[in-house]
Symmetry: C2
Subunit: 189 residues, 2 copies
Amino acid sequence: MLEPFVSSIDFSSGKLRDYDNKLDRKLSSMLGMFADKDIFDQMLAKEDSMVYEVFEKEVPEQSGQLAHAVTVIHPGKVGNEYFMTKGHFHVKENNAEIYLGIKGNGGIIMQNKEGQSSYYPIEPGTVAYVAPYWAHRTVNTGNVAFSFLAIYPADAGHDYGSIEQIGFPKLVVEQNSHPELVDNPKFTR
Amino acid sequence: MLEPFVSSIDFSSGKLRDYDNKLDRKLSSMLGMFADKDIFDQMLAKEDSMVYEVFEKEVPEQSGQLAHAVTVIHPGKVGNEYFMTKGHFHVKENNAEIYLGIKGNGGIIMQNKEGQSSYYPIEPGTVAYVAPYWAHRTVNTGNVAFSFLAIYPADAGHDYGSIEQIGFPKLVVEQNSHPELVDNPKFTR
């Protein structure tokens, strides 16, 4: 039987102090996911920059357990498109997820299988509810690291599927120094 | 199909800004739960004080959904026993729960069905994992309101059962101005 345990988020740094696993997502792990392929290739040729890091506590991937992790998306853009996470549906599609903004500024873009999309900005204290059946991706829209806590059923599973190739209905891009949603030309239902 | 939504925690006040439901737990709703019955009765005769308030967002009580609420335990004691929540097992006993300390200082006391107990202090940023099969109760060990975010499967259910009469293996009490765990004389397996 699993024993209770604690960890700790440093609200001032935005980091999880005592994680079990760390996942690094660099540019090279996000081939084809940003809209501007030429700029992406130029950036990658110069440096395989860190896009985001996931600091997670380990729990069994079993029904009833709750996975929890702090993600830190570094500030940056590929062209005018903000650094972002890969984004995914849950394999168990009816599984929700909760995000809590810890530090920095960003947003969450979501889509359902009917091609509807939804976007919410996230700042420290924002609690975003990813309803069942909605794919989700977070973006850093600021100039400093954007960090948030994510909690989801540990057996939800990650279905990257079509999102790796096609993405979300909307891109989150910088226009006139502000985040804007624009249509993703690659997106088709 | 449920749409995504957001709410917001005010880290400085420790409150949830846009809750759907609020649950009030006053002394009168906690009859028999504190060890010192005489002092409890004297306090209640004087004033039916608020012990804790739960501010919750409403989600369907369905598998895959995640209930989330901010609880504020007011500062106070019954004798030397700190103000606390009722405490419960989940009806779906294998369902975990996650607490995140937002403001103030408190702790979480847990027990499993074998009578083992576990206690962790919670301060802002502490992430406490209530492992499946562990009953849990939070206490305010400070002089100001103690608030925390709780997230759990929306269909977990609350089983107050024996805890309402017998409580946890340990009481969390103030001794020499500090929280201490002492044996609960009423507790039997």
